[in-house]
Symmetry: C2
Amino acid sequence: MEETAENIGADVRIMRAAVRLFARNGFQAVGIRELAKEAGLSSAALYHYMGTKNDLLFQIMMEALQAWYEVTLAACEAETGAPEKLCAFVRSHVISSGRFPLESVVIDTEIRSLKGDQRSNVVALRDQYEGLLDRIIQQGIEEGNFSTGDPKLVSLGLLEMCNGLSRWYRPEGRSTLEDIADGFADIALAAVNAKRDGVPLRLNSLKVKPASNINHQVSERASRVAFLAHTGKAEK
Amino acid sequence: MEETAENIGADVRIMRAAVRLFARNGFQAVGIRELAKEAGLSSAALYHYMGTKNDLLFQIMMEALQAWYEVTLAACEAETGAPEKLCAFVRSHVISSGRFPLESVVIDTEIRSLKGDQRSNVVALRDQYEGLLDRIIQQGIEEGNFSTGDPKLVSLGLLEMCNGLSRWYRPEGRSTLEDIADGFADIALAAVNAKRDGVPLRLNSLKVKPASNINHQVSERASRVAFLAHTGKAEK
DNA sequence: GTCTATATTTGGATAGAC
DNA sequence: GTCTATCCAAATATAGAC
């Protein structure tokens, strides 16, 4: 079944309603009836499309994380030098989070609502994502372009700086997402003391593909992957 | 009534149990019966000490925020130069968060569980706290020691970097809190391009009071303040 | 596929004895 | 101040008609 602007599948409507409500009020605070109303169905009809409420949360988090991982991995692999990769990572992460602010909030705050295998899967994917940054910093140190006393601490700090975007960014705010992404990339370069030939590196001295070119069509495919990872009847 | 190691008041036991459970499972996921059991009372007895469950959350957040604000304000005011103030702020914030990791998590994730005046009060106090950093960065720019294209963005980024501590820090981990505080202070100096007489500034070139000297006795008084701000019978 | 109706459990909060 | 017992609203999830 094809999706059009006028004809949105009930499964997609449910997902979008859930992300909206989970982000605003928190997973636990959202009732099945409230979710059904927001999606335009009865609470009973929900269960034709999803497993439990927890399954729905799991699905939302896996889809978003998988999409962001693919996008960011591609952005990093398009560069060769560690400083360029670092900028690509930060900018891709910021742009992804800013374009899907609701999913960002859910991922950032609701891991604790998952238990057992679902939780393990999400944590593993998140760690895989964060490992990208660790390796970039490591590469920069080995190449002699980065210097820092504690690489892991810098990695954690920069990641949380970027993740924090979901707590204050508003699309209608004073800065564009591209400017924010560039600003954070500059902070990242400063945090690792990025230099080349003894000269401190900043974003405007590098040639990096504009962050706005990031291709989010990948998320289409990622959705399927997440569906497959999802046990139960929600896949259909 | 005095507190001793053997004789802990029920009101304090409730507060501690609540912080523990709210941090681990989230405010909404914690039931009154579960809270009562953790505190060692019946669920009915809880209501002798507190108002609603939401009042308890409000009280927890106000007490912690008030204590941290007082501590960090004092640490900043003990310095005069912007670079020193910046380090003092970052270190005080990190140390405070790390010493009370459960309160940090609650403040970071449960503002959305508050409504109306309670929410406004917490947000106002948090903004007041964050305003400290804004003013330090502004001072550094005016003095010519900091340079950054977007001061507010740097402020937001650094704050979230520090706040993120509550999502990964474990007291038994590989780094001491003091080392983390120092590492983040160095990143902060780099993020604002701190220089004095044209020379880039780093933590070990400054004379700043050790973060470990931060006095947390202040939180005693802050508790009283928060109690006064709390409407209802929880004050006694 | 979608509904109404409901089974069942759990939630916050209170009554009233002691 | 603390308890047992309970009220009542809301939760998740399902049954079964259409």
